[in-house]
Symmetry: C2
Subunit: 361 residues, 2 copies
DNA sequence: TAAAAAAATGTGTGCCTACACATATTAATG
DNA sequence: CATTAATATGTGTAGGCACACATTTTTTTA
């Protein structure tokens, strides 16, 4: 099956009776072209509908882009942060032939110093772009100040520090995720049922949590028909299962009428197991499709999970930087990922999508 | 920022003390290489971690791929089928430089003959691959028989004819979508509430609808605690608003206790308007993020929409064919898209994702 | 008006691969 | 051992583009 060839610069040159060198100067606005030929070439570009071949261009330029990612380390093999990381890795493969390379750096969520160390290492590496999950706000600010100085573009992922010069933020709308959780909770409960909001503290995640909780409460307060029960929030200053269990027991003994729990991070599975063990018919909503959460959802111990497409986030971040480098595309400053509502009945399709792609060659 | 260059075939040649011609023969298993040099080159590939540059390869081959899509025509500007079409178009742009070209064909959902005509046109065109929405089963079977004869690979999208030689099916799990709808409905209603399943007929969609309805009923029958109310189904043999309204009125007068409606296609917006007009507090679940459905959801007249990522479907189909052509990747035969649960609170994020990408260059 | 300077335009090479073709090496045959 | 056949190996070119450099044309200056 043959079809019309694509227009090349040689075609333009022929049309305008000039050499490809002149065409090239026009295309790249390098000047040194007489006005009449300039016009003629521009006419050719329009008339022949010229689109430069990105492949050939890339090949000719032989450019090399190095980006660094700085994410929290994956404590468990299937923890949340392995997912954005996966998205980055997969996207980098797509752009490998275009000269893109990525160095993945990790810091510990329990150690600000590790963040600083890795950040410095990135600065030393002098990359072309950075993908950053700015969970330590203070340290992140110091880091991006250096990036700004070196004019290295950076993309925030998953979390955001407002009013910075980041190229883009790719992640959830935290308040919106609270709204979604509120709606889902209200659809399962009666308006007078009591609800518990459960926060965990670790590092600087606090500020985020507050916004999620705010959104959740906002949903109920925006309607007089809803949320006539109590909505309490408890913050457990630990992510240890023992600590959580203890706090939970304390709370439930005091508040036996609790009908729904909203866990503002990815650890709903711990609560789910607790509910199952104590045969508590309490509705449960949490975040993220971790292995453990998937299991508890399938066991019927989690009713809704809200997922923020962590893999897509990673892939989008890479794509954003690449398009900025190669095509000078300026992305939207804020790009909220869809908040996927996961239930037992549709979770398998989402898992399938998470699975690595098939064999090569 | 400089970094180690990527390994080229020249590097391999140097390492193995042969010419690039020999390297090429090894890479492409063209034979005519002495065993010792063969081994040496293979060693070089491993040691230098060689990955052929897809860009240079594509450029060198100068290959041209032509695919055709055969979808139902878009009756309204924002109808369902404009979305997969959008996905195809956008993906084709991504692969344009790789020599991919797509001819979009459309048939009328009310005219089998138009399908046959376009199908024949595609056969005449002798494309390298086809993306097909096989909504007319009988005619589709004739079409793919011809495709099989000509060894033209094809991908089913949105709908599937079982047991064919299609490269892949990309679309929803229909029964699963019924399960999801069932779960969502049950979460909103009491177990003894009456439910109406609403089907519309147009063309051969019937068979699909039956499966969706089956899934919906299956969900309720699988639990003794649920679905103790009546679950009736009505099939309206038209998609005209007037006809639908009449049938609905007839039904509601006979069944005033109806508490929930499940519309098995994308026309929930019509029912939504009816409910609003008559002030009926009936829960409503439908499919697909059409403009009209989005509006009614925002108005509060639709509770849940189930979306099957129509844009992704189109994009995935293109990607599948391309990877099959270029990288000989064999896709999974069935790829069910995630069933997105859309509510008023998360619809905006999904709309944003649907919007066309930003400016170029 | 010739020479020098400036501006405009053209040419050639590299990027990496695939493939046709040319050449070199080895094996087989009389 | 010379000759042919078979096999192995090397070379050249195309593909579209960017860029450095060479060459031509025009303008300026003495």
């Amino acid at each position: 099956m043959s079809t019309k060839r694509k227009t090349t610069i040689q075609d333009l040159a022929d049309y305008a009776n000039v050499s490809i060198g002149t065409v090239d100067r026009v295309i790249h606005k390098r000047g040194k072209v007489s006005p009449d030929k300039q016009k003629k070439v521009e006419e050719a570009i329009k008339k022949l509908n010229f689109n430069p071949n990105l492949l050939a261009r890339t090949l000719a330029l032989g450019q090399q882009f190095v980006i660094c990612s700085l994410f929290p380390g994956t404590t468990h093999p299937n923890s949340y942060w392995s997912l954005p990381k996966r998205g980055v890795t997969e996207a980098v493969v797509d752009y490998r032939d275009y000269g893109l390379e990525c160095h993945a750096m990790e810091y510990s969520l329990f150690d600000e110093l590790s963040f600083v160390e890795k950040a410095d290492a990135i600065i030393d590496m002098n990359p072309d772009g950075v993908i950053l999950a700015p969970l330590f706000e203070k340290e992140s600010l110091l880091f991006i100040k250096k990036l700004d100085e070196k004019k290295i573009p950076y993309v925030f992922i998953d979390a955001v520090i407002p009013n910075q010069k980041n190229l883009s933020y790719i992640g959830p709308d935290l308040k919106g995720s609270g709204h979604v959780a509120g709606k889902l909770m209200s659809s399962m409960l009666n308006s007078f049922d009591d609800i518990l909001i459960l926060n965990f503290v670790k590092g600087l995640e606090n500020s985020h949590i507050n916004i999620i909780e705010k959104g959740f409460r906002e949903f109920f307060s925006s309607s007089k028909d809803l949320g006539n029960g109590k909505i309490n929030s408890v913050t457990v200053p630990s992510i240890e299962e023992a600590d959580i269990t203890r706090e939970l027991t304390k709370y439930y003994i005091k508040n036996p009428e609790t009908k729904g729990v909203f866990v503002t991070n990815s650890r709903a599975h711990i609560i789910a197991k607790y509910h199952a063990m104590h045969e508590l018919p309490i509705k449960l909503i949490g975040f993220d499709m971790l292995e453990a959460n998937i299991l508890e959802m399938k066991n019927g111990n989690i009713d809704f999970l809200i997922s923020q497409r962590p893999i897509s986030q990673g892939a989008m971040a890479v794509k954003t930087l690449f398009e900025f480098f190669v095509q000078k595309k300026t992305p939207a400053k804020i790009r909220h990922v869809p908040l996927d509502i996961i239930i037992k009945e549709n979770i398998d399709y989402h898992i399938k999508l998470q699975e690595p792609v098939n064999d090569k060659l």
